[in-house]
Symmetry: C2
């Protein structure tokens, strides 16, 4: 391929709306073009990269007995009604009607289609286990697409579905797939990707992991424990706290002082109240109010004043989506002064009151008094609320930096950011049961198979590799997924000897089945090299009058680890050697 014929423009200026480097570099290098919000076209260099990633994924999926299939992009709504997700999934599921008015959806994941494909095949135990996968376009109508290929609306994804006759068999296969994922990420050049426990979200099921590339620009937050190796998405990480009480130092959990109402004029925030009462957020009870999306009824959630609500845990507990509340007069709530004691007397009917477990046995704490400018001090959860509530405490809080590790119990939690490049789920029987998939066992008994599912976003992975491996001048593609292996630069191509040498090398490299991009444009060396940096090809051969005067060409690697002068007749063999070594 000659660079002069490569469709796509490369340019120097970083587009203003790019918040992460991979987005900027993929635009600047002629990899992608914006079509609509969260929707891009790809040029040849990215197509070559994604082909290679897809082929690596395919090989690893085949190696764990996967069978490639293909599901439709456009699916009848009836399939999603069978699983119940037509109703339960939000607006990210794009729903539309065809020319006859039949409701349809654009597939954003294919559990339903997978069960539909194998429901008859899987009627006999002897056919289990099996795994099917596809590499196909998906559409997810994201509210906020961002960061180039990291969060788009249309994307190519490998999605795999395994079927088993027991949870144990699923777990064993799940670990095989986990290992296959580690091989995939290593092969595409990001062995640093780690797996973290995750929330299963709309997929359902029991256990799931996300594969994360740790990077400050990631949109996920991950809790890590360096002491024991615990790793979990913040959404899923259990928040553990110690009970708080002013008297707890002497071992007693009971408050001695009685509940006391105090005037707290002009104190609207936790900080203002704490300053006024010489308390701390830890010794306070905070109220966060939501409304259910379904009926706008109120959810009043109490948690320790220094903690934040983990909305994923809240919606999982409720089984429905929520939004921050608009507090009206009808609500019975006094914004800024909401507290648990006496709340039920004024609260609107149909509201829900929840307690985070950070408040379990808490005593001597401050809370709102449910009237303007008043708070209570010395609240004891056990003593003062027993008559009003039948409290059960749940985990609704976000884990915090320096917090307690849910696995080893040490105060060692560290929060990092990451990009999710893959995920695996133990789905259990959620889909097979809802869609009436059954098999007959060897003893004639009928059972519901258990399922796993396993996804990798191809475009997002390409962008993540770029994010992990680039410098200020462009991506540094790993050889395994680079668009070409060698970038041949003819500097001063108007010089007959340069032209002759470069043309000859181009022929020889093609003949040796080396993937070579040949820049034979009559442009300044600076332009040639900045274009080469943007294309990020691992090896670069530079033919120039100066090199040729020394009977050499220059061979450099994009990551600068290699820089040598090689006699022109030896360079093809040297390249072949380098490619062999990296394999």
């Amino acid at each position: 391929m000659k660079l002069s014929k490569l469709v796509g423009d490369r340019f120097k200026e970083r587009p203003a709306d790019c918040i992460i480097d991979s987005h900027a570099l993929m635009l600047r290098g002629g990899y992608i073009k914006y079509v609509a919000n969260g929707i891009y076209s790809s040029y040849l260099p990215l197509r070559r990269i994604t082909h290679k990633i897809e082929q690596i994924i395919r090989e690893e999926m085949d190696a764990i007995d996967g069978q490639e299939v293909q599901f439709p992009v456009a699916l009848p709504a009836s399939l999603w009604e069978e699983s119940g997700r037509y109703e339960s999934v939000g607006k990210e599921l794009l729903r539309f009607a065809d020319r006859n008015g039949s409701p349809m959806v654009l597939g954003m994941t294919h559990e339903e289609a997978a069960v539909q494909l194998v429901r008859e095949y899987g009627q006999t135990y002897s056919r289990y286990p099996f795994m099917i996968y596809q590499i196909q376009t998906k559409f997810r109508d994201e509210a906020r697409p961002r960061a180039g290929l990291i969060r788009v609306r249309e994307f190519t994804m490998k999605d795999a579905y395994s079927f088993h006759t027991s949870q144990e068999d699923l777990e064993e296969y799940y670990m095989r797939c986990h290992a296959a994922y580690e091989r995939i990420f290593a092969r595409v050049g990001v062995p640093e990707v780690i797996s973290v426990a995750s929330d299963s979200g709309m997929m359902g099921g029991n256990l799931s992991h996300e594969f994360m590339l740790l990077t400050p620009v990631g949109e996920d937050s991950i809790a890590l424990c360096d002491a024991c190796g615990y790793r979990a998405n913040m959404e899923a990480a259990e928040c553990i706290t110690e009970p708080v009480s002013a008297c707890s130092e002497d071992g007693s959990r009971n408050s001695h002082a009685p509940l006391t109402e105090v005037h707290t004029p002009d104190c609207h925030t936790i900080e203002e109240v704490c300053a006024f009462l010489h308390s701390t957020p830890e010794m306070s009870c905070k109220a966060v109010v939501y409304q259910k999306n379904t009926d706008d009824s109120y959810i009043v959630l109490f948690l320790r004043g220094d903690l934040e609500v983990n909305e994923t845990k809240l919606t999982n507990y409720l089984g429905c989506e929520v939004h921050p509340a608009v507090i009206t007069e009808d609500s019975g709530l006094t914004a800024g002064f909401i507290g648990p004691y006496g709340l039920t007397k004024c609260l609107a009917a149909g509201s829900t009151v929840l307690f985070d477990r950070s408040l379990e046995h808490a005593a001597d704490i401050v809370c709102g008094a449910n009237r303007p400018d008043y708070h209570y001090t010395e609240l004891s959860i056990d003593r003062d609320l027993a008559a009003e509530y039948d409290i059960s405490f749940h985990d609704f809080a976000k884990i915090t930096e320096g917090g307690i590790c849910p696995h080893c119990g040490k105060k060692t939690i560290r929060i990092s950011r990451g990009i999710e490049v893959g995920n695996i789920f133990q789905l259990g029987t959620k889909y097979t049961e809802a869609m009436h998939m059954e098999y007959t066992d060897s003893d004639g008994s009928v059972h519901t198979p258990v399922m796993g599912c396993y996804g990798i976003g191809v475009g997002r992975l390409a962008a993540s590799v770029c994010e992990a491996h680039h410098d200020e001048y462009g991506p540094i593609w790993p050889l395994s997924i680079a668009p070409w292996q060698v970038h041949l630069c003819a500097v001063r191509v108007d010089d007959a000897s340069v032209r002759a040498c470069a043309d000859s090398l181009y022929q020889q490299l093609n003949g040796a089945h080396v993937e070579v991009l040949y820049d034979d444009r009559s442009v300044r060396a600076g332009i040639m090299f900045s274009d080469a940096d943007l294309l990020g090809i691992p090896y670069r051969i530079i033919v120039s009058p100066r090199n040729l005067s020394e009977h050499c060409v220059e061979l450099v690697s994009r990551d600068k680890s290699l820089q040598e002068k090689v006699p022109q007749e030896a360079v093809v063999d040297r390249i072949r050697q380098l490619l062999r070594e990296e394999r």
Copy 2:
């Protein structure tokens, strides 16, 4: 791959709703599964076939300097508004709104997206010509999906777009692409595919060809001339007729008898009128009435009584879609008795009257008299209609079997049926002009590039190969696209020597990189062979106790051209030799 693990069911009974063999065989062989009207999932065998077809297409597109890119499946409506097709294309363009209410479409072809991708790149003459292509999922909301993968709503298509600075350059590239298509069809095993001139339809442009697999089950009709080689889709074939007149035998075109109104009681059809008046359909003027889809105004089209209307020609002429008329009292039309003479006096305002060129200079013919139970005889178009109409004749009729070849003029036209497996279009500047794509020439002048586009449906091509190459037992896949190269059958696998020999051959074949499907199931030979027939793999190795007693295995080809006994230690070499020979 072991057949016992292959996901998908094979069965004997032909599904009742299959009108063509490839549809039935692909269902029976576990290639596809119905998901919704015109929407299928694919199992592994078809995925392997389409991968090979895609790779052949990719190689041939790359060989004519194509660059693989990828366009989105979901496109903003604004792109289609730029070209004008958002309005002009019918319901087969699936339109929907995203979560924010923005209008979008599912891509059924990507001219607009192609121009959007290269509009900036192509601003300089020196970058021309170039061609970009993708292999991607498309959605076309067909009114009547049919015949399995032949006419579906969702499909995978290779679509290519070339850009040129002159019509001559486009034409030259068009011929290169024509040749590449011939190579593709030959390589996938259907060298018998022919190209025919076609109607450009909604794509616009000047010249186009379709590649047709001739088969009685095809849904297209093709006019062929064996005398001169003329080949055209019926939709596009010019219909040529000789002028009719009772007096024409003496060389005179003028009718001597005057226009005469006659009572024709109970004669409603052409046949009844002809029988009553002792005339022939050829000597009659038939009226066919349509209404425009846009405003329901009437189109009255007159043509020779023995001819049919080619609606493609009619809608191309009108520039809008039409539907068969509902004749109301307001129309001014007398159904069954419509004729051109005196029609304008009664016809509703805003109606259009058209004349097919088969009526040019026609004389002595019969036509309706525009009142119930009356016809005219001895109508002379030239003599009787000159005062009422300023007639211009156009070609609106279907070419007929035995009709005149528009190329050589002989009465040699033969009509065949065919499946369209590819198409190529010279688009001219329809899209580049509408979407304001321009380039600056070497002299500084600004021009609009000309475009070509080139499509192949991958799934339809797979089904067409099956249609062309099958017997009553299953497909006979050409080696180049077969899901596997060798089908290894272990008959009586419970016999230890059979098991040992088959296992060893399976290992050796895999080791020699031969694609092998191994049937090691403990089933009757009949079941094994009928499954093998349905999978249609070119070479079959049969290991059985009887063969082994002769120290041989059996090697047969699916098309029965080869049947030999080979010593078991020689069969891997023999297979490798056969695969080499076919390459």
